[in-house]
């Protein structure tokens, strides 16, 4: 199912990015997809269930979270962080700024687990060679 994705700051993302990016708290604060209750129903996803979010660039698995702040079905929110960045395009349209808000994504429920930061980096970017 297609959705419009908005990325942005949250207070927990801000707190835990200072704390430690390799911590579980940081992962729990940014590897989430906030959705409208109706959208979760349409996707048959429970609170805390895993969803796969995909673009032409790639896909990530994050936890679904019901949001009262998203008042319009069809719009989803993922906090800034390495998870969401892995599915973003680097195209800047000559401005230097990639397009980070308001783009189309596909979302489906999944049984795949949410990958930890180290694991995700290894899978997507490969290990560093000396």
């Amino acid at each position: 199912m297609d959705f419009i994705l908005i990325t942005g700051r949250t207070i927990d993302q801000g707190k835990f990015k200072e704390h430690a990016k390799l911590s579980k708290e940081y992962e729990e604060s940014v590897a989430v997809c906030e959705m409208h209750a109706e959208d979760m129903k349409r996707l048959s996803v429970e609170e805390g269930g895993n969803v796969k979010v995909s673009t032409d660039i790639g896909s990530i698995v994050v936890k679904a979270k019901r949001s009262k702040r998203i008042r319009r079905p069809g719009v989803v929110f993922i906090p800034f962080g390495p998870w969401v960045n892995a599915i973003l395009s680097s195209e800047t349209d000559g401005t230097g700024m990639p397009h980070l808000k308001g783009f189309k994504v596909r979302i489906e429920p999944t049984c795949e687990p949410v990958q930890g930061l180290r694991e995700m980096f290894l899978k997507i970017y490969g290990g560093k060679k000396s």
Binding site: G14, S67, R69, T95, G102, R118, K128
Partner: protein, 476 residues
Amino acid sequence: MMVSGVTCPFCGCCCDDVEVIVEDNKIVDVRNACALGASKFMDYGKHRNTKPLIRKRGELVEATLDEAIRRCAEMLAEAYYPLLYGWSNTSCEAIKVGLELAEEVGGVIDNTTTTCHGPSILAIQEVGLPACTLGQIRHRADLVIYWGSNPWCAHPRHLERYTALAEGRFQRAIWKRYLSRLILESARKKRYRVAGLVTKGGAAALPPPKEETWMLPPPEERKLVVVDVQKTRTADLADIFIRAEPGGDYEILQALRALIRDEELDVDEVAGVPIERLEELADLMVNARFGMLFFGLGLTMSVGKSRNIEAAIKLVRDLNKYTKFLIMPMRGHFNVTGANVVSTWQTGYPYAVDFSHGYPRYNPGETSAVDVLSRGDADAALVIASDPASSFPRRAVENLVKMPLAVIDPCITPTAMNADVVIPTSFVGIEAEGTTYRMDHVPLPLKKIVEPPSGILSDEEILRKILDEVRKIKGK
């Protein structure tokens, strides 16, 4: 021991009334800081890296500081087109040395502006920026608009220190109004729940409660307006909340420009906003005595980018035909404004400065970090006080982690995990002094509150050593 008048090294608000309690060179408490600032002061040392690291046979292993500095200098000196990125979370003094280093190695130096308010700078260079200091806004602004910005989460004390919740000399805070609305809202929800108990099928069988439309306060009182795509926590406080369609900001801004010129718009809604709501907002803007528009990444990161900001600045320019109206970007990192200011002093340009020709050249879209990395132009990188592996899009990160990479950071970040050299440093504003610029371009001192761990130098000292080493390698 209490250290007072501490400037918070977190966001662009740079709150300078923070009090820190120190015992035995450890921070044990912090007062006046928000959740973000308190998290930084209290937890900065928890996941600290104090060892210089060099990658050998695929693994990061401990090294001496001199070895790490030498390796970093070699990488930069040998590179054809190195990228020096970060800078917004360090002091102006360190940025100054960084610019010298970029010139010495003929690289491209860019700060985090590039992926936050870069489009704002492009727009400001086109049409200018009518702005003022935050103190003026605190005391005088009777209309405050946050557009595509959620200070409750990103700049938590902005509302309390400078706008809606601040007690100004000529304008009162809106605390009481907000609290009375909270009570009304809570009573409304209770009524809905009770009605649900007596209805067959419970609350789910009832039509959802309508959002309350608040009556506007008298003209002389301060008003808060929020324009956003979702009802943020900041929007909960607003007298008027306007929910826009994602990517609809440009249309709304241009519609407002037409409305304040008294032009009729022959449409029912603009980007999901009923025209009556926009007329109401246009009236409010024209009748304000001192209006202020703060804008955030909702405008810069959405489709339209710099054109959105240009439309917002032009709206403010138009409003100045009728009243006093000003505009300001909500800057994120505590010294991102300083990074722009120092870069402009030294090179003439605020970010994305390319020294590869021997003189500073500026062309965002070509010389900006994401573009340089995505095209695979850079052949080495130095990252300081930033974590682009977490904040850049995929292709840029793919190329960044492949190239020789040095990181100067007090913690092990995802970028440092993929580096060839990691140099630990002190936290500026906690363990080192410096200068920072608040989002309204007011310079403030950053204090040294505690001593850094033994052998840990400041960003400025490390950069100075790398620069000296580069000059030695180049025989200068």
